[in-house]
């Protein structure tokens, strides 16, 4: 009798240990996000415990996630893309003029924007790869070029409004959806981008090569990896995703000149919170998405607590530092 109790106790302990080992592997961003979201739900059940409210949250949080995913690709290869915010400004301002207040122009306008994104990304990638200018400087300069071009094109002020159909991506919902009640278009866009990214990053040679290059450029070169090609494509991807994100943001927020400012920093922050290493070699689409959600959730939480926007900046700053310090110190312990 005693032995079987001991045996079952041992089995229980082993199971617990296995569970604990699995728990320890979970990236910290998940429990943090869940915790914050639970607190939100506790403080404002109407919004955060209802499907409706959750979907609203997701609508707001999705654009940053889209931008963060694009940024992740560039960070993973060891670079920086500071043009992301300027691209969003570009999309919103230029589209406002292209649309000429005519919904029929929505599709061509979006197409033009996507092509522009490819061109911007190509420029970034080619300069870094062939002129050997560090991506920090390249994208810093390009940020001015892109933003300046946009402002020049619209003469400093929005030239029209963004038509409703164009804004659908950011603003509208699918109504009467079973279970979820209503699903924001923005979330669907995010899901599509996420799926594409997961395939590119985890299930294609492309992603593995990006990580190898970010980790050790020389070893990748010597293994036959076409480093420059991969790098250029990474920047193109980031720029195109920024365009998509811009369309969603514009849809949600409408036109204004300062839109997009600081977004590149937020995207990088979302990635860092999601465990991406600055310098390359690590990345995960899901973690980055949750990182972006976490940042948004924190903003919402602080708003809910009655803290005005400025305090959210302070907290954001503290969290970003804290997240990186935590990751940095814990990886030191591993060694």
């Amino acid at each position: 009798m005693a032995s079987s109790t001991v045996a079952s106790q041992n089995a229980f302990v082993t199971a617990l240990q296995a569970l604990w080992a699995w728990i320890r592997k979970i990236p910290p961003v998940y429990p943090v996000f869940i915790l914050i979201f639970l607190v939100l739900g506790f403080l404002n059940p109407v919004k955060y415990q209802s499907m409706n409210g959750i979907m609203t949250f997701l609508r707001t949080a999705s654009p940053l996630a889209i931008l963060a995913i694009g940024e992740m690709f560039v960070l993973a290869i060891g670079g920086f893309d500071l043009t992301v915010g300027a691209i969003v400004t570009f999309v919103v301002l230029v589209s406002s003029k292209l649309l000429a207040n005519d919904p029929a122009n929505a599709a061509p306008a979006i197409l033009i924007m996507l092509v522009a994104g490819v061109l911007i990304g190509l420029t970034n990638g080619l300069i870094v790869s062939y002129l050997k200018v560090p991506s920090f400087i390249t994208t810093l300069g390009m940020m001015l070029v892109v933003r300046g071009s946009a402002l020049y094109y619209v003469g400093g002020a929005p030239q029209g409004y963004l038509t409703d159909n164009w804004r659908a991506f950011g603003r509208n919902y699918f109504e009467n959806v079973p279970v979820f009640e209503r699903v924001p278009y923005a979330l669907i866009v995010l899901i599509v981008i996420a799926i594409i990214s997961i395939i590119l990053f985890n299930r294609m040679n492309f992603g593995k090569e990006i990580l190898a290059i970010g980790d050790n450029v020389r070893a990748s070169q010597l293994s036959g990896v076409k480093v420059r090609l991969v790098r250029v494509l990474t920047f193109v991807l980031c720029a195109v995703f920024a365009i998509v994100g811009g369309i969603v943001i514009g849809g949600y927020g409408g036109v204004n000149v300062t839109i997009g400012e600081g977004l590149e920093m937020q995207a990088i922050a979302a990635c860092v919170v999601g465990g991406v290493l600055l310098g390359g070699g690590k990345g995960s689409v899901m973690n980055v998405i949750i990182g972006a959600f976490t940042l948004q959730a924190i903003v919402n939480l602080l708003n809910l607590l009655g803290l005005p926007k400025p305090y959210t900046d302070v907290v954001q700053g503290l969290i970003i530092i804290g997240a990186v310090a935590y990751v940095g110190l814990s990886s030191q312990k591993k060694q």
């Binding site: 002129l131 400087i137 302070v314 990186v324 310090a325």
Partner: protein
């Protein structure tokens, strides 16, 4: 004992050691081109009117002062993205404390320098003790400062007494005070970098921190000092701006893109983002390049947005001119 002579000819050795950084060529080139275009398309004042030339320099003072601090930090292989908001908080706090009263000036100035000290110290400690990447660390502090500013102020606050405007507008003889102060800052920066132990150690820390450490350099302390100095220069820039604007506003720092511009001018001036290399005079040349471009664009009536585009392009092309020859892959 015999002297051993080298295998290289004197000529080749001298040629190797004289290397004029490209930025000075750019400076002269851009000045001449601007002057030329100005002659052709405008009233040709850039080359002829000393007041305009002086104005170019005065416009550059705010950026110029903070660029010195950024140069130091970059040499240490670090970076400071918090300077823009440090400028902002200086502007609003000093203006707020002064409230237009000269009597308050001696209170305001130490106060804001104290704030700068705290900011720089925080940056330095987070980077060296918590081992956080400098990009993230200073980004984080900049957000914290931003939050603190916006929590307390939302618009123009307080005002600056006329006596203080001397900083921004006064002249000693024909030379504006602001230029004198900027030159002083550059001289101090130059002195620190090339004539002090601190400077020698800073180059070591940025060039190869392991070699520095093995040589007995106190790497953490050196870097912390560099960050403190950088924040102080940001404070000084803020004081200059507020003395010109007469009242401080929270958007002063980020609007002027002082963070990214200070980095850009330093890099154009020959300071390497990877550390260990650079000097303040190159940065000054970079700052002046920006100043000339600004002024000549104004003279030529260039659209302000095209100005932005051109500035971005020039940053990239200027840096490309010396990275293009390197054999290492860029990231």
């Amino acid at each position: 004992m015999t002297t051993i002579t080298g295998t290289d000819s004197w000529f080749r050795r001298t040629a190797r050691s004289i290397r004029i950084p490209p930025v000075y060529f750019f400076l002269v080139l851009i000045f001449l081109v601007s002057g030329l275009l100005d002659q052709i398309y405008s009233d040709g004042q850039i080359l002829t009117n000393p007041a305009i030339m002086l104005n170019i320099v005065v416009r550059s003072v705010a950026l110029g002062i903070v660029a010195v601090g950024q140069t130091l930090v970059l040499i240490g292989a670090s970076i400071d993205l918090s300077v823009a908001y440090t400028i902002s908080i200086t502007a609003v706090m000093s203006s707020y404390i002064m409230q237009g009263e000269t009597a308050n000036v001696p209170i305001a100035i130490p106060a804001v320098f104290g704030i700068g000290l705290i900011i720089g110290l925080t940056n330095g400690l987070v980077i060296t003790k918590l081992k956080v990447n400098p990009f993230i660390a200073t980004l984080g502090t900049s957000l914290i400062i931003k939050g603190i500013i916006n929590a307390t102020f939302s618009n123009y606050t307080g005002s600056v007494p006329e006596s203080f405007e001397f900083f921004g507008y006064g002249t000693i003889g024909p030379i504006p005070v602001s230029i004198i102060i900027m030159l002083l800052v550059y001289l101090v920066g130059w002195f620190l970098l090339s004539r002090t132990k601190f400077g020698a150690h800073l180059y070591g820390v940025g060039g190869n921190s392991e070699v520095a450490r093995l040589s007995g350099v106190r790497t953490s302390r050196t870097l912390i000092y560099a960050h403190i100095i950088c924040s102080m220069t940001a404070v000084l820039s803020g004081l200059f701006l507020v003395s010109q604007m007469r009242s401080g506003a929270p958007w002063v720092g980020p609007n002027g893109l002082y963070d990214l511009n200070s980095i850009a001018t330093a890099v154009i001036g020959g300071t390497a983002l990877s550390g260990g290399k650079g000097d303040v005079w190159g940065t000054l040349a970079g700052v002046l390049i920006f100043g000339i471009l600004d002024t000549s664009f104004n003279q030529l009536g260039v659209n302000p947005y095209l100005k932005m585009v051109l500035r971005g392009a020039i940053i990239v092309l200027a840096v490309a001119s010396y990275t293009i020859r390197s054999k290492k892959e860029a990231a």
